[in-house]
Structure formats: structure tokens, C-alpha cells
């Protein structure tokens, strides 16, 4: 047994070249057609990035946050704020908290700073382990952010925050071939292709989400599902346990975003999406609410560019919720119908702050 190679140095490595051409072709095809493999939310995120970069997302009001904001209709939101302003829904799933600064920087890289950013600041920031809230620390959070935040503002934010560990992770992710990046979805599609059934049919949900987003700029994630109180228990047996972690690092990450928004003359309106009573009971039991209320006070006291819309934690009946964070179709309707009423008492103050911010921005 030995190593023998009878290759002449003058011969072209044709097999290697052929393989390379094929591999590059396949990688290019996967990248161009990644929507075929993605889940029912990814393609919308790709569309949001396109809107961001093309200027379609240029607006006076920008919604930033996680999947609980997907349903927020830009048209209705504009009206609730008194009309006359464009609204862009720039939310994505598994947003966490660190992503606020990235989203803000990405938005302002391609567009002028908005007057208002709508954000959510809910007790789950207290009740979720920090790693699930940070792009740097968790793969799901990171992979979502990769799809939405374009490279240049992404790197600029990393440099701004001095997050060197993340710079390396980001570089590695960008350098990964598409077949590795999207392999989970590709592998799920392989059995269908191998059995000559072609690529798996795009789920109805995916088409509906894309259609709804293209029409309204928003979509309801779980339209016809009704909240099951048992879902909290099931959740706790799955991804992680909801507990009163209350990591000060999380609060600081959110405040870093608020300070940046302040420096850009942006008013941040914290407009939390509804939760079921069951979740409030749960947070009370784990003693997470006092920490959350303390955090709310810090934000109210120390960030003059922030306005919290009451009720800070709106409670919806179970039949209006799909799970303990997302509304269903009926919940969406109830939310949209009640939005104007909820915002009305705050509008004068919001307008006053916008004027104040504008003055500050125009001051030498």
C-alpha cells in the first residue's frame, strides 16, 4: 500500500476545474433561489432588506422589533399617528435586544433618520436568558439578523460597539458557502427531489405571508390559531425556561439603542403588543414583573426621547391570541381597531417631542 501519483505537472487539473465550476454554479444557484428552501418567514425578511436598500422603506415612522410586530399594519399605524406619515414595518423574528442598534444603523445607512421608531419592551427581556437576546450569542438570533441587515451597516455597527468576537462570527458566516448556510432547508428538500417529486411545494403560509407583506407591508404570522394556556408549559420544556433572569446587560443593550436614537433626534415610542392574562400571571409567579417595572422606570426617567404607550402591557382575551406573544387574525383586528384609541392620549406629547427633537437636530 503506497501513495502513487502519475500526474504530469504540465497537465491541466481538468477534474478539479470541472468540479469547481459545478460547485460554484450550484452555490450561485442556491443563493439566487434560496427562497425555494426557506421557511415561511425568511422570504419576507429578504423582501424587507430589499425595501430597506432600495428606498422603498423610507418612512417617518419605523416599526422595529420581533415577530410580534409582523401584524402591525403600516397604513393603519400611520392613521393612528394622525396621518401624513409613511410607516415601514422593519421587524423580524428572534430579534432579541441587541439587534435594535443594528436595525437602527442599517435603517439610517440607507435612509434619513425617521421621526419615530416604534419598539417593544416587554417582560420577556427579563424572563429570557441573555444569550437568546443577543446576535453575538445565539445562532437563531444571529442567522435571522444576517438575512435582514446588509453587510456594510452590519460591520459598521460591530466596529461601533467594538464587538470583536462577533466580527469574527459574522465574517465566518458571510464566508460560508450558501449550501452550508441554508443546509437545514436544503436537506429537508432533498428527499422530495430524490424521489423525483421536485422541490417541496412552497407552503401556502409562505405565499400568504409574501402576498400580504407586498400588499400591506405586514402580515399575521399565525392567523387561525387560538392560544392554549398549556403552551407556556410546553415552551418551558422546549427552547428555554422563562424565568426572572433580569440581566442588567440586556437593559444596557436596549439603552444603548435609545441613546443612539436620541443622538439622531428620533422619538422612540414603546408600543407593546398584547399578551394573554396567563402570561402576566406567570411573570408574577416567577417574580419577573417587579424587575420589569423597575426597568420601565429607568427608561421613563433617564431617556427623554422615549414615550411609553399605556397600557404598557395590554392584555387580550385568550381567543384573540395565537400563543403567548402573537395575536391571531381576530387579535390583529382588535389590535388595529384599538390602536388609534390607545395612541390618542399620547399624540400631543409625541408631537411635542418630535418638535423638540427637530429643534435640537437643527441647532448648531
Amino acid at each position: 500500500m503506497e501513495e502513487r501519483l502519475s500526474i504530469s505537472s504540465s497537465r491541466l487539473p481538468i477534474a478539479a476545474i470541472l468540479a469547481l465550476v459545478f460547485v460554484l454554479g450550484m452555490e450561485g444557484w442556491i443563493l439566487a433561489n434560496r427562497n425555494l428552501f426557506l421557511d415561511d418567514v425568511f422570504p419576507v425578511m429578504v423582501l424587507k432588506q430589499d425595501d430597506l436598500k432600495s428606498g422603498n422603506g423610507e418612512a417617518e415612522i419605523v416599526i422595529m422589533g420581533d415577530s410580534r410586530f409582523f401584524h402591525m399594519d403600516p397604513g393603519n399605524t400611520a392613521e393612528a399617528f394622525g396621518g401624513g406619515r409613511e410607516v415601514f414595518n422593519f421587524s423580524w423574528p428572534n430579534f432579541g435586544v441587541e439587534a435594535y442598534l443594528y436595525a437602527l444603523n442599517a435603517y439610517t445607512f440607507y435612509n434619513p433618520p425617521p421621526e419615530i421608531i416604534i419598539a417593544n419592551f416587554t417582560p420577556e427581556l427579563v424572563a429570557t436568558p441573555t444569550e437568546y437576546l443577543r446576535i453575538n450569542k445565539h445562532e437563531i438570533v444571529r442567522s435571522r439578523a444576517y438575512e435582514v441587515i446588509p453587510t456594510i451597516p452590519h460591520i459598521a455597527t460591530i466596529l461601533e460597539t467594538g464587538n470583536w468576537g462577533y466580527l469574527w462570527k459574522y465574517t465566518v458566516s458571510v464566508a460560508m458557502p450558501p449550501s452550508a448556510t441554508y443546509r437545514r432547508m436544503i436537506n429537508a428538500a432533498i428527499p422530495s427531489v430524490v424521489s423525483l417529486r421536485g422541490l417541496p411545494p412552497r407552503e401556502g403560509l409562505l405565499d400568504r405571508h409574501v402576498r400580504e407583506y407586498q400588499r400591506n407591508g405586514s402580515f399575521v404570522l399565525f392567523d387561525d390559531i387560538t392560544f392554549d394556556p398549556e403552551s407556556i408549559r410546553r415552551f418551558n420544556e422546549g427552547l428555554f425556561v422563562l424565568d426572572a433572569y433580569g440581566d442588567p446587560e440586556v437593559l444596557e443593550l436596549f439603552r444603548r439603542f435609545l441613546r443612539k436614537a436620541d443622538s439622531l433626534g428620533i422619538v422612540v415610542v414603546i408600543l407593546n403588543t398584547p399578551v394573554p392574562q396567563e402570561l402576566i400571571t406567570y411573570y408574577t409567579r416567577i417574580e419577573g414583573l417587579p424587575i420589569f417595572e423597575e426597568w420601565v422606570e429607568v427608561i421613563r426617567r433617564e431617556h427623554p426621547n422615549v414615550l411609553l404607550v399605556e397600557p404598557v402591557l395590554p392584555i387580550f382575551r385568550d381567543d384573540l391570541m395565537a400563543d403567548f406573544g402573537h395575536v391571531n387574525d381576530s387579535g390583529d383586528q382588535a389590535f388595529e381597531e384599538g390602536l388609534s384609541e390607545r395612541l390618542r392620549p399620547h399624540l400631543p406629547e409625541i408631537e411635542a417631542r418630535i418638535v423638540e427633537m427637530k429643534k435640537r437636530r437643527s441647532a448648531p
Binding site: L5, I7, A16, L18, A19, V23, S179, A180, N187, I190
Partner: protein, 469 residues
Amino acid sequence: MLFDSPEFALFLALVLPTYFLLRHRAQNFFLLLASYFFYGFWDWRFLSLLLVSTVVDFVVARGIAAASGPRQRRSLLIVSVCTNLGILGFFKYFNFFVDSFREMVGIIGFQLETGLLEVVLPVGISFYTFQTMSYTIDVYRGTARPERSLLNFALYVAFFPQLVAGPIERATHLLPQIAAPRKPRWEMFSSGAWLILWGLYKKVFVADNLAKIVDPVYADPASASGFLILVATYAFAFQIYADFSGYTDIARGTAKLMGFDIMLNFKLPYFATDPSDFWKRWHISLSQWLRDYLYIPLGGNRLGEWLTCRNLMITMALGGLWHGAAWNFVLWGIYHGFLLVLFRKWGGWRRFAGSTALETRLLAIFVMFHLSCLGWVFFRIPEINHLIPMATAFVGNFSASATDLAILENALFYLALLIPIQILQYRRGNLLAVLELPVPIRALVFVLLYFSITLGGAFDGRAFIYFQF
């Protein structure tokens, strides 16, 4: 910095172009710095051990060459051996021996309150201490000349492709390559690139995926069926092979890209037809080291049959202990020693296995593969007392459930490309047989390996098994 990590890819992407821009002496200096960086990336504190080993053996070898008499030469050799074995013994075996001693005296009723030390095992220590020791011994024996350049010698000890998991190189093989300018040759480059691709495939696709089958079964054998234990044992045989030989392939491929030829460490070990053949194919650099520096000095086969058997058992038991400070490794070594003795006594087997008839050969391969699998059970079990539930499951609960069959199917999937390629290599007697295939088939193999890695590779930062030895 694992070979299958992005950090190593970046490291190599920076090292290779810089290396080719430099002249020979500067190349060596640069490679030494790169190697120290590579090693220090794990834990920079352990660089001091590498430096001690390097300086002591360099000075001792020069001293041996300049010594006036045999006593002085011998004393210097003892200094080298004691330094290297001292480092190895302290960092790798101190707790093992203290713990074993405590347990032993505990059996006869004494309770010792000796505390164990919080000693971290420096990566690759077993490999580089053996490598430097072999150099001093070779100089002492007169089979190698003492190296004049400390730079060259330091690079011989620390050369990053083979620093942390071998192959355990010999001074007579590697030092001349360091001393002479390397000329880049296309054959070296193409075989190097192939070895890296093949090694990566073996590590991230085969070994790391099989580990997911093996680990849960061996962690809790009591809850597995005998059938599943059998599947997990077969899977481990291929996991450890793919892991270690994959590492070696990447190491050799990387070295080849820079014009170095590192020794072969594996020659299709599961095609061995008897234990002696197995050790000529498995971890060749270690088995040759043990042969040259332990077995032969003990007397080898020159002192009669019984002493030969004794020497084989001692060599293999110590070889087992080299793999780890635990009794299961010793047991594994003794088992292989026993097999070597048994097959040595049973001369008829060699005649049978050496037959040209294909069926006979296949039968011999089948038998030897299963004997090595039995050995892997000793090697893999976390504790010796796990053997009891495994044996019980084998005897009392062998039936395969649907899940067990699905796991077997899964394991076969990960071997679907490895085994045909190995058969091809075996039949052609050429480890680079794939590079001699017709162009379209060769291109297809490259593409399959690439997509197996990107689509199916387990990128979970699982360290190479042999790093811990």
C-alpha cells in the same frame, strides 16, 4: 485551533502566501513563529513546555555528539528521557497514578487522604515528547546526526501540521526536509489539496456524524439493546478511524502544500488480515516508535519465544497507556498484546490469511475487523464497569427495534462514500487511487465530497479524538 475550524482556514490562508514569498531560512523562521502561534492558540502557557523540550533535547543531542565517553553520553541521554517523560508523566499521568495507588491501598484497608492536582493536559504532549525523545535516542545510537541549527530543530519539534496529533515524525525524515530548500511541485500540491478535502470529509462528515450515534449508546449502555451496542461499536470503529486518519490527512495535506512530505500514518487498517498487519496499518508512526524504542530495546524477538511474548505484552500495554491515563486504555493495549501473541503462536493463520484466494482474504479481513472492534469496546467505554451492562444487553436483549434499524441505516449513510473509496484504494494498492480515476468520475467524487461536507458535515467544534492523548 482545530483543522476543521474557520480559525484554521484563516490561519492557513495567511500562512501559505506569506510562506511562499519568503526565502528558505526566513520560511523556516516564519513557520516556527506560525507553529508557536498555532500551539499558543490553545493555551499559550503550554508553549513553555514545548520550549523546554526543544532546548533540552537540542542541547543534550549536541552534548552526546561532543561527549568523550559512553558514561557521559548515557548520562546525557538519561537527562533527555527524564525531562520528556517527566513532563509527560506529570501532566498526563500524575493524577492517574495517585488515584490508582489510593484505590489499591484502599482495597487492603488503608485510607489515603492524598489530594489530586488540578492538572490540565497540554494538547499534543504525548506526540511531541515522543518525537523529541526519538531524536535524542537516535543521536545516542548514532543513527541521526545532531542538528546544528536551533531554528531547524525547534521547527522539527513544533511544525504545526503534525504538532498536536502526529504523525510522530523521525528526525532522519523531517530534519533534512527542513534543512534543504523546498521546491513547490505540482504533484505535491494536488495530492496535498486532495488529502485536505478527503481528511475534512472523513472528520466532519463521517466521524462527527457517527459520534452522534456512538456517544449516547456508550454513555448509557444499560438502556440500549445488544443490537444497538453492536451498531454503535461498528460506528465507533469507523468514527475513530475517520477522525484520526482524517486529522492525519489534513496534516499531511497541509504539509504537502508547503513542500513537506510527512510520513504515512494509516494504510487502510480495516483491511488488515491479522493483528501484526493491523499495527502496520494503524497509527504507523506510534507503532514504529514503540517497536524501535521499546520493543527492540526490551529484546524484541531475539530472546526466545516466551520473552518475545512478554515484550509484546509490555509494549502494547504501555502503548495503551500512552493513549490515556485510564485503565480501559491499558486493557485495550493488553488485549492487542494478547492478540499479537496469540496470532504469533498460531502460525497457520498467517498462511491462511496470506492466501491469494479472495474468499480466504475476505474472511481474514472480516475476522480481524471484528477483533479490532472488540478492542474498540475497551477503548471507548468511559468506565470498565460499563462492560457488564453491555455484555448483559448482548446476551439478554439483542433484538433490534425500528429505531435501532433507523440508526443503522443512518450509520450506513455516513459510510456510503468512505467504504467504496477505501475498497478502490485497497484494490489498486494506492492511497491516491481517486486521483487516477477518469476525469468525470474524479470530478464527481470531488463534488460529492464537497457537498457532503457543506450539507452534511457536523460543524459543532468537536475536537479530534487523538488531541487528548
